[in-house]
């Protein structure tokens, strides 16, 4: 609940207006982040499928690409 003092001076309204703007920008960025995460998952899936395909083409050998960290 907004206090009468804040409501009377309009501080709450100014804060609300700037928070609306902040919320819109953050919501937009959050949606874009979810979309980018989905793209990343798809890229990983494609790479894994390609690995499987290369392994199958090499003649039922284990995956040729090393999964161990470098260094």
């Amino acid at each position: 609940m907004i206090s009468p003092v804040i409501a009377a001076t309009g501080d709450g309204s100014v804060a609300a207006a700037y928070l609306v703007f902040l919320f819109l920008v953050l919501a937009y960025l959050a949606i874009m982040a979810v979309k980018l995460a989905r793209i990343e998952r798809e890229v990983v899936q494609i790479v894994e499928d390609l690995d499987r395909r290369e392994a199958a083409a090499a003649g039922a050998a284990p995956a040729t690409r090393s999964k161990e960290p470098v260094g």
């Binding site: 309204s13 100014v14 819109l24 874009m32 979309k35 395909r53």
Partner: protein, 227 residues
């Protein structure tokens, strides 16, 4: 830039003698409105480029500009209502041309996404959406030009407020406007990069799916343009 602008709003720009602190909403509301309307017009210009060249990348740019402008227009309506509630005692004034015209423009563009979604063929979707963007984009300056010429405006005019007050008001307003413009361009680039990556992924999936069952995913109907 926007952080600087908001710091100027609260620590540099003077408090309005008439409206008090509520006038500070002006520094976020007006730049958002100007950038949103410019975005709609930019969407129309990009749509013209699409119809002239037939290159679907222009359609995607037009779509992104309009999409972001719709988001900003929501912000304009909400912040404007908050200001109107304090200044006029009402959330919305129906006999104020500026407000009603902005609402009409917003509702007009709110039909843009459903229009795209209703057309399945990507080529046709891009063409129809471009025609819509050009028509609606031409409507924006016409409407606001007519409203400017109208009499009995109670809605404050940005030009009057920035030129009649102290220099700190116009300086803060210009920094806010520049910040909002840069935010718009940055978010446009961000969304374009995301859309391009999605399109390339789909294209890669289609190419790989040519050999076997790999990647055979349904693309589905979408309002977003595809390359």
């Amino acid at each position: 830039m926007l952080t600087t602008a908001f710091a100027l709003v609260f620590f540099y720009a003077p408090t309005d003698a008439d409206q008090g602190i509520v006038q500070k909403i002006f520094y976020v509301h007006v730049p958002m409105a100007i950038v949103a309307l410019c975005g709609f017009v930019a969407g129309a210009v990009l749509a013209i480029a699409h119809l002239r060249t037939g290159d679907r990348r222009w359609d995607m740019r037009s779509y992104v500009a309009i999409h972001l402008s719709i988001v900003l227009a929501v912000g304009v309506l909400l912040t404007g209502s908050i200001w109107a509630r304090q200044a006029w005692g009402q959330w919305f004034v129906w006999d104020e041309p500026m407000l009603v015209v902005f609402l009409i423009v917003f509702l007009l563009y709110a039909t843009y996404q459903p229009l795209r979604f209703s057309i399945e063929d990507p080529e046709k979707q891009a063409r129809y959406a471009s025609v819509f963007a050009i028509t609606a984009g031409a409507f924006v300056p016409l409407c606001f030009g007519a409203v400017r010429m109208a009499e009995n405006l109670t809605h404050p005019q940005a030009a009057t407020m920035t030129t009649s007050g102290p220099a700190s008001v116009s300086q803060t307003f210009l920094v806010s406007l520049l910040g909002m413009g840069l935010l718009f361009v940055t978010l446009c680039k961000y969304e374009m990069a995301s859309k391009n990556a999605t399109s390339k992924l789909r294209s890669l999936r289609r190419r790989l799916a040519g050999d076997d069952e790999f990647g055979a995913l349904p693309t589905g109907r979408s309002a977003a343009p595809t390359l």
